[in-house]
Amino acid sequence: MVGGTEFISINPNVNREVFKLGGKSLLECYQCGSCTAVCPLSEELDVSFRRAIRYTQLGVEEKILGDISPWSCNLHGDCTDSCPRGASPSEILAAIRRYQSIKYDWTGITKWWNGSSFASKLVGYLVIFGLSLLLYFGFFWQSILAYASTGKLVVLSELLIPVAVVFVISLAILASNGYRAYKFMIKDKKKEVGLVKSLKHIASFFIKVESDAMKVGHKRERILEHTLILIGLGLFILLGILYVLVPKFFEFKVISRLLIYVASITLVIGVGSPLMKRITAGEKTHWYYKKFTHPTDWMSLITLLPPAIMLLLVFVFYDLSMLSHAYIAFALFLSFMIPFILLEFAFGKHTHWLYKVIAYYVGARTGYFRGD
């Protein structure tokens, strides 16, 4: 608050942590506010990305954690294009998000997942993946073989248990972290706007911002990629739920296959495309794929690609009547799903959907959206 005599203590280490989390240009920012001013979101939303950066530069921790602006960022990158210091604010904001996620997560896993090196992440991932493999190719191997011999696609209840357990635990952790995030964000703010109005704000905001962004080539490309992932993941979850709850659905071959193929192919393309661009990044590649190369970015893609491929393979094999192959693929799919859910879905970059939703909700309810 302005004018008060209360002084906020700072945490001098924040800037170093955020630096390590990918905000390499954090202190190059000289606070001109170009990023805020140039951002298409600013038309609709009273946020200051610059201020978020300043909070972080100085380590005003409580303000950082409650700041919704990093979550409102859609990484369109106009700020990075217009930053007079070449400081890449979107990258800094992504790093701040990593920092925020770490602080929102009470388990400390996010801290490791976001903060560790690429190699240790990979090792961690592989260890869990290995355990999953052990589980499915060891413990469940007999039952898999048994199911395979039936030649049918049936509800594989006990095979699904580990994944379901992991999924439920992850959801629980996510919910508790989401609640923590909500508490941080709502602090010192007042709910001024009604729920319905808020939702309207958010909806119109998304439509406006995204449709504006679609007009720009490089943004369109990224939005499409993101949308593919979003659709793929959505279908994935839908299919998973259907699989558990309405297994009959899979008897309608055409529709279920269509959905499955769409889900997995969109995912493969949505994940594969940015991944390929990152790997083959050259002169002409948009900077987005070069700058955002924090290990968490890689991992968010890397962890998602194999289950998507495996799912595709399951049904390809199945429809080709290569049942044993299909079941192996299925086992692999589940083995890939466990580390994905446990690490990426619960603690990784993928958590941003949750915090984003909370941030928009808080923003909308507390009057951050402009106009009526």
């Binding site: 906020i8 700072i10 001098p12 202190l27 000289y30 610059r50 530069q57 100085l58 210091r85």
Partner: protein, 650 residues
């Protein structure tokens, strides 16, 4: 007037420029009717060769002793026609221009009215011409030598420049060593050490026989004028001579200890001391202000380099010009200003600079309170930009760059240290901006404040800075281990004495005022006195050095011919009439007038070399004794009266 004026009037057509609107024939006819006009002619281009020849021929043929050229503005062709009349043997100041082009034909359209006006303009010019007098340019001999006050970088630079040019230079320095403040700055830019620059300059000064370095010396009196100053310089005793081998034994036995101003009070020194390791002249010096003359040092010195019997001496130096380069004083924070003086970890930027210097008491390590701090904060604008009650209004120009430079240096050396810079506006102007950029890359943290200035709290838990961060509008509490006050610059403490001796004047901010802020930045209003370095206001080292060269250029321009030409259109005193009331002395902006005794009478005396010819003394002179040659009362009154056809008679 000894001879009756014989005036020739020449009216120019300037093609159609004048003749298009003014009936020049009529003007010439009219001119013939004016008193003392002997001949009046018109011609198409008076400024052309034939036009000038016409005038020259008439001067001879009609024995003219005044010429009025009625043409364009004097700013355009006065010099042309003056040259022409002087070629015809007439004193060039017996020419008067009547401006009937810019003031008449070009601004009016009614031919009749314009012609009438042109006639009156000519009548005014003729009226003035009747009272014109021949004037002579004067030449005085000038010394090709200079006195440079202040042995800092600006002074040394000026001295080197002038000595190389062939001037004899006296480099007068108050302290026992030259080098100034720059010698004490650890790093003046990320790559350059202050001490290095200074010692390289010492080498050049040493090799230049035309520079005489006078340390421990002060200018106590200045008389004379440009080209011919006599400077009285007092040489205070050093008590140590050139036999000194810097063995340092004397220092050990000296019983007197005082705060060491060369380390900005970071440590102590003895009464006999060497200011810094590469000081020049490279001998010990005894601080005559504190020495009790116990004689211990004299006894211990094996080389006979010390003699406590030395007495102050006063020498008279004849010099042609004075270059003032006495620099600045660092701002002196009062006790408690941002906690200054209340905690050992709160220091000034200058002290920090000393710490970062490899030649410092800590050998270049940033050790405060016996350990290397984990975090350090610079507070900018201490003493500048109206921050605190004692602060000056001006910006001290160098502190932002110096602080950022030091911050970068610290970050290079101690990457884990948190370095904060609390600023109002970062003044890294010009290419220094890259340093600011660099600081960001080196993870220096910046905090902006505005009117509400930061507060330093000294608590048992340590030091804290409470600051209202402008760009996030929050009150923050920053824990720090050390605080650096980026202090600004003050005019040197002895500026009053300097003003009293050299008669330069001060601006509102307390620094010496230059002749013109924009276009004469290294010249004092008084001819022959030039300014270099921070004496005119805060500068950085590079700017001071350039000013040194620039001031030298001015002295070269003024004196290189070995003589000075004095414009004759200056003030002149009629000693018969002057009563010595001294009103003119106070109004002269150049201190060119003084009161002298002539046969027991007080008489105003104009130092011709200093007078610039503004005439304000003439206007102020109550008795009419002071007259502005070329613009005398009678000349201007005659011109005034001529507007209405009246005359002014002697």
């Amino acid at each position: 007037m000894t001879e009756e004026p014989r005036i020739g009037v020449y009216v120019c057509h300037c093609g159609f420029n004048i003749a298009g609107t003014v009936d020049v024939k009529k003007v010439a006819e009219f001119a013939k009717t004016l008193p003392n006009v002997v001949v009046a002619k018109d011609y198409v281009f008076m400024c052309s060769e034939p036009g000038q020849d016409l005038i020259k021929a008439d001067i001879k043929a009609h024995n003219l002793n005044r010429v009025v050229v009625s043409a364009c503005s004097p700013s355009l062709h006065e010099i042309t026609f003056r040259t022409a009349v002087s070629e015809a043997g007439l004193n060039k100041y017996l020419l008067e221009m009547a401006n009937i082009r810019e003031h008449c034909s070009w601004v009016h359209h009614d031919k009749e009215k314009a012609t009438e006006k042109a006639k009156e303009i000519v009548r005014m010019a003729v009226a003035k011409a009747r009272h014109l007098e021949p004037l002579q340019e004067l030449e005085v001999k000038a010394e090709t030598s200079a006195l440079v006050l202040g042995g800092g970088v600006a002074g040394m630079r000026a001295a080197l420049e002038l000595a190389n040019y062939g001037f004899n230079v006296y480099l007068v320095e108050k302290a026992p060593t030259i080098g100034g403040k720059a010698a004490l700055i650890g790093y003046v830019d990320p790559k350059t050490k202050g001490a290095e620059i200074v010692s390289k300059m010492f080498d050049r000064v040493k090799d230049c026989p035309r520079i005489q370095v006078l340390t421990n010396a002060e200018l106590i009196q200045l008389s004379g004028f440009a080209g011919n100053y006599i400077a009285k310089v007092r040489l205070n005793p050093r008590y140590v001579n050139e036999k000194c081998t810097l063995c340092g034994e004397c220092e050990e036995v000296c019983p007197i200890e005082v705060s060491n101003e060369y380390n900005f009070g970071l440590n102590k020194r003895k009464a006999i001391f060497l200011p810094f390791s590469n000081a020049y002249p490279p001998y010990y010096a005894i601080d005559y202000r504190v020495c009790v003359k116990c004689g211990e040092c004299e006894k211990v010195c094996r080389f006979g380099a010390i003699s406590l019997k030395e007495e102050p001496k006063v020498v008279d130096l004849k010099v042609g010009s004075i270059i003032i380069a006495t620099g600045y004083d660092p701002y002196r924070p009062f006790k408690g200003e941002y906690g200054y003086g209340l905690h050992q970890n709160i220091m000034t930027l200058f002290q920090l600079e000393r710490l970062l210097d490899p030649d410092s008491p800590t050998k270049g390590e940033l050790i405060v309170g016996n350990k290397i701090p984990k975090s350090i904060a610079f507070i900018q604008c201490v003493g500048s930009r109206n921050t605190t009650p004692g602060a000056k209004e001006y910006c001290s120009r160098m502190c932002c760059t110096t602080a950022i430079n030091s911050a970068v240096k610290i970050k290079e050396k101690y990457p884990d240290m948190n370095v904060y810079i609390l600023y109002k506006d970062i003044m890294t102007y010009g290419s220094d901006e890259t340093l600011y950029e660099e600081a960001g890359k080196k993870l220096v943290q910046f905090i902006k404040f505005e009117e509400k200035i930061p507060k330093v709290s000294i608590t048992p838990e340590g030091l804290f800075i409470d600051v209202f961060e402008y760009t996030i509008q929050e009150n923050l509490r920053i824990p720090v281990d050390a605080i650096v006050l980026s202090i600004g610059m003050l005019p040197p403490r002895d500026i009053e004495e300097l003003i009293a001796v050299t008669r330069v004047s001060c601006g509102g901010e307390g620094f010496v005022r230059e002749a013109h802020l924009k276009l004469a930045p290294v010249e004092a209003p008084t001819k022959g006195i030039f300014l270099a370095g921070c004496i005119t206001g805060p500068k950085n080292i590079l700017e001071s050095i350039r000013m040194g060269s620039a001031a030298a250029a001015k002295a070269m321009s003024l004196l290189s011919k070995g003589k000075l030409t004095i414009e004759p259109m200056i003030a002149q005193v009629n000693e018969e009439k002057c009563s010595g009331c001294a009103i003119c002395v106070g109004v002269c902006p150049y201190s060119a007038i003084s009161i002298k005794k002539v046969n027991g009478d007080r008489i105003a005396y104009v130092e011709k070399a200093l007078c610039m010819g503004c005439g304000t003394c003439n206007a102020a002179c109550p008795s009419g004794a002071m007259q502005h040659l070329g613009f005398k009362d009678i000349q201007l009154l005659a011109q005034t009266r001529a507007v209405f056809g009246g005359e002014m008679n002697v």
